[in-house]
Symmetry: C2
Amino acid sequence: MRRSVGKQADPDLGMLTGRVLFNLQKELFETLARRGHPGLRPRHGAVMVYLDAEGSRATELSQQSGQHKQVISTLVDELTALGYVRREPDPQDRRAKLVVPTALGLDMMSTSDAIVAGIERRHAEELGEDVYAGFKRAFQRIAELQVAWRERIPGQATGEA
Amino acid sequence: MRRSVGKQADPDLGMLTGRVLFNLQKELFETLARRGHPGLRPRHGAVMVYLDAEGSRATELSQQSGQHKQVISTLVDELTALGYVRREPDPQDRRAKLVVPTALGLDMMSTSDAIVAGIERRHAEELGEDVYAGFKRAFQRIAELQVAWRERIPGQATGEA
């Protein structure tokens, strides 16, 4: 059997995550565009997903998203230009800045959360609530195992060994 | 509760797919680098995953990966420069070209498939074979449902509506 045919019939974890993420982002950003947020791109997700209404530090956004601080800084610049966030002094640390959502940013955050929740509700209806809940539990466990694996084996994590 | 804290405790499907894909790619490409393939990057996955030993048409790679033909063409250029593939005339269609893996490309394909299979074996051992098999079935069903959803609702698929 051709390799590509075998893979279409029995996709590996990389293919499945890649496809599902690609299609989920496509639906999310197309729907956001129709609901008043046309300038956003999937790369902005690293900030959009974790941003707090009270404001977030860039270092927090970096840790939560797994993106380098420099990447987060560029994304915050773009989102500032698009009118979604602004940098404000952190009241708890005068030397630090907070990334704070504007009114447009708050609308985007709640709209985006509602779109993703709607997509997940659709999957749960199609698969059955129990099956979907089991899928989510297993997926979360896999995400945790990946982190534990990287922390357990320093050589694997750094590319040495 | 802060939005970010709630999301860490109960991650949505977009966060989970993003994290698991990011960590899987990190482990895959770091391991490939240690096994003689240091020049590859995650973006090359769109071609690497679907390439056949017998050669693949660029249009096939585009359909299978969901990437634009222009993107595939750029990736094939890069993989050609890295020594992984070459473009050859398609024996079945004189006007078409086939993307054919070199010996280095064939080694990369089997090494990459073995690394991903090893990662999945680890997950299956940690979760239990049955739980992991159920997870994969549900995941594949979700990937199919996304495609069916986009085909069913043309407005959603094209961003009109």
